[in-house]
């Protein structure tokens, strides 16, 4: 427990909340969640930091809470990033096999991956992820490991997620300002999908939609690989803002109405119903039409799903989702949202559960923690990779050492 490398922290600086989750790798390299800290976020708009001092304060609060709960000192975090500037696309790398026997070697594979990762992007753009997809050998698709196969040409697709460097830097800086290291930055949508999907679901093809406060991220898996990612800078905040505007109430009241009376669906039961809003003393302030409230919300949420559906159609990814759609993020709490998504996307929709990790089960099985838990999971993968490498070099060192001792 006191080995610092076994502690993995995921930090999500969201639009509505800042959330830090502490995970621990036990002796069997299994992940266990031991702490959780959260704070209301005040310095973030649409997933990006708009007020750095505020955001820093919120991050500090969340980290302190998580430290107390897990009883550890947090030194470094895996940071979730999002925002409308993030873009995902697929890039293909090609490499001819030059060896005489046409057998694909480990070097060929390394070269083709390197080729695929050389991406021509403007200088101000930073590649967050370049995730390997399947290999193609002489045009034959769907090969996961071509080493040892025969072929003249190896190709590989990578899915690249990139964003504006300065805007990514803003989030990193506000974490570094608190004397915390950033192990890595991770696209929030990717983190959420890691937390929610099982390997089987990734294999079958699934879509994860994370409806956050300021942004909505979506990730498509088919055949076990990431096929498509996207970000819409529209989220729960927009719903509240629409309500505040349409019902002519203050934003805080709109937020409250959304949570208490909101629904993604229009149903006949609310037709013509009015709702009296009262002030803190219980005196009636004004009456609002429940039907209007539902209509405003429903239209906004419907539009979000329509935009996603349109994007997936364009990317040709919508036909491979045999496992259906999983919703997470605060937006997944809206009543009837799964049904609305089913209507728009025409496939089974469920609320995602973060059931692939052991630990503080009841506290964590909430859709809004998916990103932070996914970050920890991402971190645990990295950590395992690192420790595997470390043991390898250690092993070599010790053998060499032994050699000399003898």
């Amino acid at each position: 427990m006191f080995d610092p490398s076994s502690i993995i922290v995921g930090l999500e600086i969201g639009t509505s909340k800042v959330c830090a989750v502490v995970g621990e790798l036990n002796a069997e390299n299994a992940l266990n969640i031991v702490g959780l800290g959260q704070a209301r976020s005040r310095g973030v708009r649409k997933g990006e930091i708009a007020d750095a001092p505020m955001a820093e304060e919120d991050v500090r609060n969340a980290i302190v809470e998580a430290e107390k709960m897990a009883d550890v000192e947090i030194r470094s975090v895996y940071l979730g990033v999002t925002g409308g500037h993030l873009r995902g696309f697929n890039n293909r790398g090609v490499h001819p096999v030059v060896s005489a026997d046409r057998e694909i070697s480990e070097e060929d594979v390394q070269d083709v991956i390197k080729n695929a990762k050389t991406i021509n992007l403007p200088a101000q753009n930073h590649v967050i992820h370049a995730i390997r997809q399947h290999f193609l050998v002489d045009g034959q698709d769907g090969i996961t490991n071509p080493v040892g196969m025969l072929g003249a040409r190896v190709e590989v697709d990578v899915h690249v997620v990139h964003g504006n460097l300065n805007r990514l830097q803003n989030a990193i800086r506000s974490v570094k300002g608190l004397q915390l290291e950033v192990d890595d930055i991770v696209f929030s949508g990717l983190a959420s999908s890691l937390a929610i999907l099982t390997n089987e679901q990734k294999e079958l093809g699934s879509l994860v939609i994370d409806i956050g406060g300021g942004t909505t991220e979506y990730v498509v898996y088919t055949n076990g690989i990431i096929k498509h990612t996207g970000v819409l800078a529209v989220g729960g905040d927009h719903v509240s803002n629409d309500l505040a505007y349409g019902l002519k109430v203050p934003l805080s009241r709109a937020e409250q109405l959304k949570i208490e009376h909101g629904s993604a669906l229009m149903d006949d039961s609310v037709k013509g119903q009015n709702l009296a809003i009262t002030n803190e003393l219980g005196l009636p302030l004004k009456e609002i039409n429940l039907e209007n409230l539902r209509q405003i919300m429903s239209l906004r949420l419907e539009e979000i799903f329509q935009l996603i559906a349109h994007d997936l159609e364009q990317a040709g990814a919508i036909d491979y989702l045999r496992s259906g759609v999983f919703l997470c993020g605060g937006g997944a709490r809206i009543a009837g949202i799964a049904k609305l998504a089913e209507q728009v996307l025409q496939m089974p929709v469920t609320i995602g559960k973060t059931n692939s990790i052991s630990g503080l089960k009841s506290a964590l099985d909430q859709p809004e923690f998916a990103t932070a838990i996914g970050l920890v999971k991402f971190g645990s993968f990295q950590q395992r990779k690192r420790s595997a490498k470390a043991t390898l070099t250690q092993g070599i060192k010790s053998t060499i050492g032994n050699f000399f001792k003898r």
Binding site: H238, G246, L251, E302
Partner: protein, 442 residues
Amino acid sequence: MNQNSDAEPIQPNQVSANCAATDASQQKTAIKVFGIGNAGISMMQRLVDSGLQGVEFVAVNTDAASLLGSSATQKIHLETKLMRGMGTGGDPERGQAAAEEAAAKLKEICQGAGVVFIIAGLGGGAGTGISAVLARAARESGAIALGFVTTPFDCEGRRRQNAAQEGVEALREAADGVICLPNQKVFKLIDENTSVVSTFKLIGDLLADGVKGVWRLLAHPGLLDVHFGDFCAMMRDRHMESSFATTEAIGATRSREAMDKLLAHPMLDGGQLLAESDAVLVSLIGGPDLTMVEVNRVMGEIQGRCDGAHVMMGAAIDEKFCERLAITVIVARKGEAPHENARVRMKPEELETQLLSQTATTKPKSRLVPPAPELSPDKVEQLLTRQRAGGTRGRKASAKMRQGQLPLEIISKGRFDKSEPTIHMGEDLDVPTYIRRGISLN
């Protein structure tokens, strides 16, 4: 160039200029450069100094002093009694009158030339008045007349601007092609500390570069030839706003470097102008080691920048350009409406002078004389009515616009007011969906 049929005697000359693959002695007679007026002569001086070969330089002015300072091969002093040795005094009509008087002499000088470049600074008396007459004389003598002119700085006043505009119009009618460089554009190239002298030197250099770019196209053995006819066709009706840029680079990555410099060139507004242009002439000069791939790269880049424009290219080889690559781009686009109006306004006066002037009526009917006087009364009337109609229409439209803009309901974006808007397929997603879809709440 389509009137070639009735001009047999001069065709050999033209051909030599077009194909540009002739020996030096023929070229010597083929190209003549005229510098007109004080500005024109000093700009021509740059060309003289740069040592263009096989080119004859002629300085024409009403002011004897500036002719003395020129090292042109031939100097012509135009003088009328009206001037009493005082020059034109900034009056284009005087310049024109002096030129008309000496039209026969000008024609004689142009005789035997294949291409006549006319370099002038418009806006003053001599340059504005003489260049059009010279262009006509050159064409009558069988040469192709090409104008390279500057228009004055804005600070030089309205009068000179108008005069220059008329001069451009007149030259456009008379010459085969006019490339016009507004001096005002040079401001992009100079900084706070640039002196007046060096500014004018810069203008001279720019114009000289332009002339050289065209001259190279026509006079050097080309990888890819440009036919003069094509060139004139491109320039016709498009020369109200032209811009030049010349860049050079040395070394293995010369094509890329030169292209980068070109796209960053202030005269092209950092490549912006290419996008707005509707005709582009590209002249590439390289050593014998110029590769097709390089040509292709440059052309591909330029063509990609200006889609829809008429792009014309020529690539030539110059032994002296070993390992070097020079790109000259001449960008032209159509003039704007105000110029048209100015032209209409001035036309009647012009008609009067034409009727009064003896030379105008006794002009021989040549293939090259533009049929302007016959057409213009109708055209003037037509254009005037159009202008009037346009004026009232414009006013009406603007009034309507103002009324339409009165907002009934200001759509505020609430908490997203100050954040970056989320634009998706042209829609601002920060605005409530029900408003964008026009759904009314009861």
